[in-house]
């Protein structure tokens, strides 16, 4: 299987853990995996991306434009920024909640993400989730990475079984947070299941 998955968001949103779990799970299922992360300055509130490339046919560490089967966007504006990576028939799972950049608060341009969501809706197959809503039962936006992962898994576009993903979550999350992270993941699965039905 060849599959390219891109994860994007804003530094500090937990994109790295999500991408590590996807990579590890794909490997667990027997695939060759390569991936690449944003590291350094940009982790301090900048735009961050992870490129996960599954299969033997990947040479470049970064997914070429128009190559991603799936785009997991932790922030709606970042989804638009990285839309160039998505295949013509690719699917985007997008958090509609906007993260305000500091510059925005300084000189207001009215960015709230709604124009971004509308733009995306017209241009690709999207599954929208709102992190504020879906994270409410968990008391913190910290669990959004597990939720969006669940949405992606249940949508069927990730090509990895939920069991394998759950196993990797167990391995990679500190023991005392395993249960809540798994719950968040399963909550995501439910949303994803409904959305793709």
């Amino acid at each position: 299987m060849n599959k390219d998955v891109m994860v994007c968001g804003v530094g500090g949103q937990g994109t790295v853990l999500a991408s590590k779990i996807i990579a590890a799970a794909a490997m667990e299922e027997g695939s060759t995996v390569h991936s690449a992360e944003t590291i350094g300055m940009a982790q301090r509130g900048g735009s961050v991306t992870s490129h996960i490339r599954v299969g033997e046919d990947a040479f470049s560490p970064l997914i070429p434009f128009g190559g991603a089967d799936l785009l997991l966007a932790f922030e709606v504006g970042e989804a638009v920024r990285n839309l160039k990576y998505l295949k013509a028939d690719g699917v985007a799972v997008v958090n509609t909640a906007a993260v305000m950049p500091v510059t925005e608060s300084l000189q207001s341009t009215g960015y709230d993400g709604s124009a971004m969501a509308a733009y995306l809706r017209d241009r690709c197959t999207c599954i929208f989730v709102n992190s504020e809503e879906v994270c409410r039962p968990f008391g913190s936006s910290r669990f959004f990475n597990m939720i969006i992962l669940g949405v992606a898994a249940a949508s069927g576009k990730l090509g990895i079984s939920t069991e394998t993903l759950l196993k990797e979550i167990e391995k990679r999350v500190p023991a005392r947070y395993t249960d809540i992270n798994k719950k968040a993941f399963l909550a995501g699965c439910e949303i994803g299941g409904k959305a793709s039905r």
Binding site: T32, R44, P61, F65, V80, V102, S105
Partner: protein, 599 residues
């Protein structure tokens, strides 16, 4: 045993597999994870250290290699400038055990000041260089580098780039590896003491050996040629080779010649592969090292060859390559299209800009804010330095007027004080940078009667590169608790008369202190001491009282904390980001922000 690791991890594991005895380096993106990986895998019997700077690291490692041990040194490309003094000389003196210097280049640049090319240092120092195209290759090449280093008794460079360092792949590592057995240092002053006569002789020997190494590299397994062609070839290396493969995987009447050893150049290999080729495209990042060698080879052997690349404007000199850029350039070269259909996003709504910013609750923000408040209305020069605190340049703080290179803030403040007499000159330096290259600058200030205020932003870590320990943190890479080097005592020892340590979150006290010091003369030092928020997790939070907030946005305008935004009606604080540092509570004119705060 298979491990999924970053390119940097692959380099670390390759070195362990090669039986490395000593690993030293200084943190710098994109190289920092090499030493961290060594520390996470079994490394019984290996000495591991974050050295105070790159030059120290290389010198420590050189001694190990003089003793017959295998030593690895890691740094980013700018660090090699610092270490170059030692590298150039050790290239002449030579080594007994393998000495491999990893210098990670950063095309783009993504997190560096320059787009220099480590392969240039290889030809400048006359030592071999290896240039991997993937983490898998980096794992193999570091081992090859040790073998070559020992075979020829010379230091060897390994030059990965950011995209290789930060790419992940799965690597097969040996179950068992052990540090190399070595016999120890043997005194021989004719060999180990560098003298003009010895250097003259060694230089001749080096050049003769390089011819031989070039010949050996002509059959090196990572110098490869693939694909058939009716007369066109692409010459490439590093991650650019991966981009070329990505573009040409299904098609292309072109030969791909990949040269992983830019120096000594494998001329026989190049000649062999260029047979029947009429037109060459050189695709490499940073400097046109391969391109120049191809031009030399073509000239020397009277080849009927047209060479495209950076030197004829076909490929840009600056910036990194990508699959897309490679596809465009290949399209022009070969006349066929290689890129997928790319969406036209020109009608997208304007994207928010997200420059990196200091974290919410970062003590540097409080320090900069206090100095800014204290110096309102006065003529100042704020000399910054390398680290998270370079981000103090961003609006609204706007507190970094210059940033040049490691340690330069302290010395440039002195230069301004000698030329701009009515300005209050500040040098800001982080704790790790202070130890790396700040201390000598302070000595310079004292003995040359500079008039400056040194602000040490001491957050007890090397934050930007991923929180490495340093001499002030009291813990080293061997896992030992050691005496902390006390910055205040260092400054006093150097002879700085006024040294005051303050808590940056005590804004009022900081402002008073800086105001007072601004009216004094000589070298004065303030140590703003509070830990990086990543070190000490806080559960304190502040919040905005919506009834009291008059939406003047002063809090947002003055400090630019990423936790502070507005919902259009009042200021709001993101509880997920806020650390309760309390800085904003002191700015709000109506006292609308409250909560538990630092005292």
């Amino acid at each position: 045993m298979r491990e999924y690791v970053m390119g940097n991890g692959a380099i670390a594991l390759g070195a362990l597999a090669a039986g490395v005895n000593l690993v030293a380096g200084y943190p710098g993106t994109p190289s920092s994870e090499i030493i961290e990986t060594v520390s996470k895998y079994p490394h019984e019997g290996v000495h591991l250290e974050w050295s105070v700077n790159e030059k120290a690291a290389l010198e420590v490692a050189a001694a190990a290699a003089y003793s017959g041990a295998r030593a690895l040194v890691t740094m980013k490309q700018m660090g090699l400038n610092v270490a170059s003094d030692a590298l150039m000389s050790v290239a002449y003196v030579g080594v007994k055990g393998g000495l491999v210097v990893v210098s990670a280049d950063d095309p783009g640049p993504i997190s560096s000041q320059t787009e220099q090319d480590t392969r240039r240092y290889a030809s400048f120092c006359r030592i071999p260089v290896f240039d991997p195209s993937s983490p898998e290759e980096a794992f193999e090449m570091v081992q090859d580098a040790f073998d070559y280093s020992e075979k020829y008794g010379r230091p060897v460079l390994l030059r990965p780039t950011t995209r290789i360092c930060h790419a992940y792949a799965s690597i097969e590592i040996p179950e068992h590896y052990a540090p190399k057995a070595y016999d120890g240092f043997q005194k021989d002053s004719r060999r180990w003491v560098i003298f003009p006569k010895a250097s003259y002789l060694n230089h001749g020997k080096m050049e003769a050996e390089n011819v031989e190494i070039g010949r050996e590299f002509s059959s090196y397994r990572f110098n490869t040629a693939e694909g058939k062609s009716s007369g066109k070839a692409v010459v490439t290396s590093g991650v650019s080779y991966a981009y070329v493969k990505e573009c040409l995987k299904h098609s292309g009447d072109v030969k791909i010649i990949r040269i992983a050893t830019a120096f000594p150049f494998p001329e026989d290999f190049a000649l062999r592969e260029l047979e029947g080729i009429r037109e060459v495209l050189c695709l490499e990042e940073l400097s046109p090292c391969l391109e120049e060698q191809i031009l030399i080879t073509a000239g020397r052997h009277h080849l009927d060859l047209t060479v495209h690349g950076k030197t004829d404007g076909t490929v840009p000199f600056n910036g990194e390559n990508s699959a897309e850029l490679t596809g465009e350039i290949l399209q022009k070269f070969l006349g066929t299209s290689f890129s997928a259909d790319v969406r036209d996003l020109s009608d997208a709504p304007p994207l928010p800009v997200r420059p990196p910013v200091l974290c919410a609750g970062c003590p540097h923000r409080a320090s900069f804010y206090a100095v800014k408040q204290a110096m309102k209305g006065r003529k100042t020069v704020f000399c910054g330095d390398i680290g998270c605190y370079t981000l103090g340049n961003a609006m609204p703080l706007d507190m970094v007027d210059t940033c040049l290179c490691m340690g330069a803030g302290i010395t440039m403040a002195q230069g301004f004080s000698h030329t701009d007499h009515d300005a209050v000159c500040f040098g800001f330096v982080g704790d790790s940078t202070f130890f790396a290259s700040g201390m000598t600058g302070v000595v310079n200030a004292v003995c040359n009667e500079a008039d400056m205020i040194l602000c040490v932003l001491d957050n007890s870590t090397t934050a930007m590169t991923g929180h490495q320990p340093h001499p002030g943190t009291g813990r080293n890479m061997m896992g030992h608790v050691v005496d902390k080097v006390d910055i205040a005592k260092v400054l006093e020892g150097i002879g700085v008369k006024t040294v005051v340590t303050v808590n940056p979150f005590d804004t009022a006290a900081c402002v008073d202190l800086v105001r007072k010091l601004a009216d004094e003369k000589g070298v004065r030092a303030v140590i703003f001491k509070a830990p990086c928020i990543a070190l000490v997790k806080s559960d304190r939070k502040c919040s905005v009282d919506a009834d009291k907030c008059i939406h003047c946005k002063k809090c947002i305008r003055e400090i630019g904390c990423p936790a502070l935004t507005t919902d259009g009606k009042t200021a709001v604080i993101d509880p997920g980001l806020c650390t309760g540092c309390g800085l904003c509570t002191k700015i709000c004119p109506t006292g609308a922000i409250g909560g538990e705060t630092h005292e």
